[in-house]
Symmetry: C2
């Protein structure tokens, strides 16, 4: 049986790597989290010391707090939009120069040289990105959305919000996206936004002596969580220039706790982003941004003033949604398997990681350069709205190897930046521009390339690849339906993107608004809503949202809002068992040190027993971090007799403020003399005297609601009938994990209370 171990170190035993997903405990398959994953505490800690501190806060301090709350959001908005703009500017220029140089060589018929230059440039950029990621900050690899989502759920993965990670994420993302890998920048932008917010809320850096008194109010989990939520909204807003979509994305996908006030603050942050970006674009229209401005800052304007569609267009859209849902869940399924395989390679060491990344880069370059040769050249249309063939970077008609007056339709998609390819696919009045075989080749390439590119050791996003894959899928369906529908192929591409996004990421309102904002056409709304609803519903039948799958692989214990049906069959006492570590109100120092050194628990119940009280009484809950601070300050008593509340003079609120992860003091660092070990410490003023408690007969489902809605880290279980001890156990996040519960009660695996979901057939095992 499991004891009430909370926040155990979740490492990644290689032995368990190949186990199926029905592992009984939460195990990280990917990532190298050698530090423990910590839970966050959103409860109001009410101990005497904090109460006293709160009472002494003046009105000025409250105003400072309010002022800082908004100022930080403003600053987050400014910084994130700056980063977003820099990112776009850099990618457009680096990738742009690469394409211009290669195209010029091809114009001069130097195809081999062009290929070598193209591959070498991509290889160099990928190598750089994977080098800095692997050696400086492995936490910056991947999209970052799963980690931020877990953080907002109350799980602090180590190092995800460090300055190092931020820098690697920004530089690595620019470099990786420029290297023509089939990856996106939206995920990394969200992580960047969250990271900026978290760093700002950390109250400066103690290491670099940058601290400011006003920032001290944000040194707690609640305020930092709110700021990170705003930051992730800003990141999304900057990635797609979609301020409302960014807020909704943070609300629907990222945040686990949400309040009206937060909605407003997030909205403010993204408004700042929108206005700053607008100013930059105004500036770039003057032509001072190099190659930026022709394709930059994604904005697929598909406005056609009078799009008309009628009820008879609903069935094809419905079909598009169904297939999109199936494709999306298949995408998730394969991605999951590929990440597991990559994990085996990546575990072998940094060199292997980099090797993998470089192989993918060479493979990608080969495909991008080689595939267009499969497509036949097409004659330029007489009424083309732009120069045909296009010489240079963006544009619908790429010349590639074709003779003058002809263009290569596959090259227009494949030998281009992702943003430009999306723009080409979304364009209206281009129904005859692409041949169906080119679109098919492109779709298959995108689908698999994006799956194989995600898991490499570099900042990689999923949004843009999925949009691109979906757009080609939608065009293909549009071509098959042909003239039986009023909708043009560009519109089908938009709907195809929506369906694949819905089928893979399983968002609704936020995706809808993001797509509306970047296509800038509100009349599409009902069709996009329809396609998203259908594809999400179909996808949910097969598996979970892609970020949840990745989160599971990373071993992050995400707490769902919804209780599984079998949780109604269990009581809390069914999952809390094992020995319980308790402290007394006045405890011997050596006992405290012993318990802290021998367990990894982060919270301990404090009880008062006779003769202090008449009968055993639960006084409250004390946190490991606070105990360590007490020991460090050596606030000891010579005897087991309390001496009043002079504790308030010995400590300041700053002593107990939450540190960044890994920066907190450790019990191992504290040296105590023999004499001190024999002394006593009065825990009363530092014990949270009103923890939330549940009675042992409460069902797990009902306890989960309290745990999740209030955002707890520890929940005390009290006995139904008063017994010798006033507390039965402690529940933590891990006790609510389905893996844990099903491990303790394996019989539930077969019960009819499991989630209704179609499983893939047993050939799943071949992976």
């Amino acid at each position: 049986m499991f004891n009430n171990a909370d926040e155990e170190s979740v490492t990644h035993p290689l032995l368990l790597l190949r186990s199926t997903s029905n592992t009984t405990s939460q195990v990280a398959i990917v990532g190298s989290n050698l530090c423990p994953i910590e839970s966050l505490d959103y409860e109001i800690i009410e101990n005497d010391f904090f109460k006293q501190d709160w009472r002494t806060r003046s009105k000025t301090q409250i105003c400072q707090y309010l002022f800082m709350k908004w100022t930080l959001c403003f600053l987050v908005g400014i910084v994130v939009s700056l980063v977003g703009f820099t990112n776009n500017l850099a990618v457009e220029n680096i990738a742009g120069i690469k394409f211009v140089v290669t195209s010029n060589m091809m114009l001069a018929n130097k195809y081999l040289v062009a290929f070598v230059v193209f591959t070498a440039a991509n290889f160099g950029l990928t190598l750089f990105a994977s080098l800095i990621t692997a050696y400086i900050s492995p936490e910056a690899a991947g999209s970052g959305i799963p980690e931020v989502k877990a953080y907002l759920n109350g799980v602090d993965a180590p190092g995800i919000f460090s300055l190092r990670t931020l820098v690697v994420k920004i530089v690595g993302s620019i470099s990786a996206v420029s290297s023509s890998l089939h990856i996106g920048k939206a995920g990394p932008m969200v992580h960047t936004g969250a990271c900026v917010a978290a760093l700002m809320g950390q109250g400066g850096s103690k290491k670099y002596r940058l601290t400011w008194r006003w920032l001290q109010y944000f040194k707690n989990d609640r305020d930092r969580r709110d700021l990170v939520t705003c930051g992730s909204a800003a990141g999304m807003a900057a990635a797609f220039r979609s301020p409302v979509g960014g807020v909704l994305f943070a609300l629907e996908e990222m945040a686990s706790w949400w309040r009206g006030a937060l909605l407003w603050r997030a909205f403010f942050t993204t408004a700042v982003v929108a206005i700053v970006l607008r100013a930059f674009i105004d500036f770039c229209f003057t032509g001072k941004c190099g190659l930026f401005g022709t394709g930059g800052l994604i904005m697929f304007d598909v406005t056609s003033a009078n799009i008309s569609y009628h009820l008879e267009d609903v069935p094809p859209v419905f079909l598009l949604g169904i297939i999109g849902g199936i494709l999306g869940s298949l995408y998730n399924f394969i991605l999951d398997k590929v990440i597991r395989i990559y994990a085996i390679i990546n575990e072998k060491g940094a060199a292997y990681k980099i090797l993998l990344a470089c192989s993918i880069s060479i493979f990608t370059s080969g495909l991008l350069f080689g595939l267009p040769w499969l497509a036949s050249c097409q004659a330029c249309p007489a009424d083309a709205s732009e120069a045909c063939p296009t010489i240079g970077r963006s544009g619908n008609y790429k010349k590639f190897q074709c003779p003058p007056g002809h263009y290569n339709d596959l090259a227009s998609l494949i030998f281009n930046t992702n943003d430009d390819a999306i723009k080409n696919l979304f364009s209206k009045n281009t129904d005859s521009e692409f041949h169906w075989s080119s679109i098919l080749i492109f779709f298959v390439t995108c689908f698999f390339l994006s799956i194989f590119s995600y898991g490499i050791v570099a900042p990689t996003g999923l949004f843009v690849p999925v949009i691109l894959t979906g757009a080609s899928y939608g065009r293909l369906v549009g071509m098959l339906i042909g003239s039986r529908s009023n909708l043009n192929h560009g519109l089908f591409a938009v709907l195809g993107s929506a369906s694949l996004l819905g089928g893979s990421m399983r968002m609704t309102v936020s995706l809808c608004v993001v797509i509306l904002e970047f296509t800038n056409n509100l009349l599409l709304l009902p069709l996009i809503m329809l396609v998203l609803l259908v594809s999400k519903t179909v996808g949910d039948v097969f598996n979970g949202n892609i970020y949840d799958l990745i989160m599971k692989l990373k071993g992050l214990p995400y707490l769902e809002a919804h209780a599984e049906p079998y949780m109604r069959q269990l009581t809390v006492s069914d999952v809390v068992t094992g020995p319980l570590q308790l402290f007394h109100g006045i405890e011997k120092v050596s006992n405290v040190v012993h318990v802290l050194r021998t367990t990894r628990h982060n919270g301990f119940p404090v009880i008062d027993e006779p003769p202090v009280t008449e009968c055993p009484v639960l006084f409250g809950l004390v946190l490991r971090a606070h105990l360590v601070t007490l020991l460090k300050k050596k606030a000891f008593l010579p005897t087991a007799v309390p001496t009043g509340i002079d504790a308030f003079n010995q400590f300041t609120a700053g002593d107990f403020a939450k540190r960044g992860l890994g920066n907190g003091d450790k019990i191992e660092d504290i040296d105590l003399t023999e004499e001190e070990m024999e002394m006593f410490v009065d825990l009363h003023p530092f014990t949270n005297a009103s923890p939330y408690t549940v009675v042992e007969t409460m069902s797990l489902a009902k306890a989960l609601i309290l745990f999740r809605e209030v955002g707890l880290r520890h929940m005390l279980v009290i006995p139904k009938i008063s017994s010798r001890l006033p507390v039965v156990g402690i529940l933590t996040r891990h006790d609510f994990m389905p893996e844990h519960i099903l491990g303790v009660h394996p019989s539930l695996l077969k019960s009819r209370w499991k989630k209704l979901r179609i499983r893939f057939p047993p050939w799943e095992k071949i992976f």
Copy 2:
């Protein structure tokens, strides 16, 4: 001191009517709620009986439940869009015919006859609306948004979701809006949507023998709340043809509890609304809908392909927001006072109510017909894009009394339906069409007319009047700024609407999306965000959101999510006092009857005492409704000895299902013999054995978080030190009301912990 009275009947003692807003208890100023306001219970009730019932549910039943959940949302969407369309069709046709007839008379120079016909038609329509509202369903008066908002917060005002209310709301709204009163239809549509959803979730009607087994699953507060949330989203979506805005409105303004799954369901509902409305509009474009189609179903298409604005346009927009915020809070302030004055009149009886409504109607008709005479006629522009002057109903250039070739700009705004007036104000390229004096007259008229029209006894909305007032205010500012800004006056009108909406209703994201959806121009986004943020911030400095003010006047105990600072200074034991009513696990029938008859409490702690147990133990909480069912079924024991669980054979889950308000059994209706009174009843199987408890030393702020986040109706307070009784008291919604707390602890009124807000000066007293 107050005892733990829960859900006291909140009637409206006339004596307290003139008291200031600092009344110590929650008192209804308006509305005639003679029935008690009931709280709703979103907690999972875990008694043995329900647990047994849950265990016996088959997989089929779970699937039925899932299927019904989505089917109901689908049906709500269909019905609400039907109602919305009918509403629009009727208003456009009734008001349209009225304007056409009057205009024709004026063309024939019969001005007096035209005035009489116009006034009589309006009078008749208003009279009809107020008659049915006053005599059939007074609950249908007003916007309905505050009541629905309170319901979703857990307060069930009597009669708001009855079939009667629904019918009166729909018919009354059509009639009142057609009567040229300065009121809107959005609020009534939201109420209608919520009402449709609530009726569908009620499981048919027992009275008319319409019950269906599948609907039984929805006979609980949680599922009904979710359905009502979707219904209110659908209502908003239908009112403005704004599906995403509808979802966000329900999320931001209406819902107090929200989950990801609900977002998805609400989105589905509004998608249905959008698609059905689209089909109807397609149909109406064929010209079979009478006068509908030229101006119906609000959609102010202000697309101008290349709206350009730059950073230098930000300051005027900022200014617009600041003044809008001040105007909005002033609007709320005056409206609040007018409603209080109207309440005095309305209290005198139905005849007075109708008289008030009719006077407002005559006054309005006089203004609408009289004011345009103040404006001078203007020559038609040579390059007018439409016929000038317009003969008939809609259009920019109303002829009114002007000679041929001229138009009356004030009449174009004032002698028109509200929708058309908004459309005219929002139009681009009309900078020279309106004279500033006309706009000023129109603004002042709108501002006050909408304030004086809201409180009458008819279904009245606030959205459209505020949009219209704001649009004229925006145009006025645009004219004053003139050519110093690049923005055209139509755009200023849109921004003005946004600023007044933000200043009065204090929403952000949802208003932003609603405005975007009905103006259909995404490029406006950053400016609208800016103006909303500024006006909401400015407005919040002065007073609360308009719906919260109305809710307060109606005496609905709305529970805020955010704890007031002084709540951190109080513990729960500071607010629970007074005698506590307890039951024993096996209780004498006469005791139960006595307590139920003499108190109005809705929940009672159940304890087991020696000799049943060793020491007193809190067994759980039993609800009044369940006790009444027990008494009605006469499931009694001859002696105080439990006889096992044969209770499960005597009852079905349907016996304990939640009834519609007022339909539940009452203790007064139950007759018991002397003999039965001497028997015993075993409460154990029907007692919620795991209620949420808090320790008496917990701060009120922390307890509020639990109460609010989990959605409780009763919260048990347990002692810190075990004493004779295992429970100290019960907390209910009313114990968390600031009015109650400040009444018990008046010293807090002067504390520095009160909300930071600028108060209006003492001349407030003159009202």
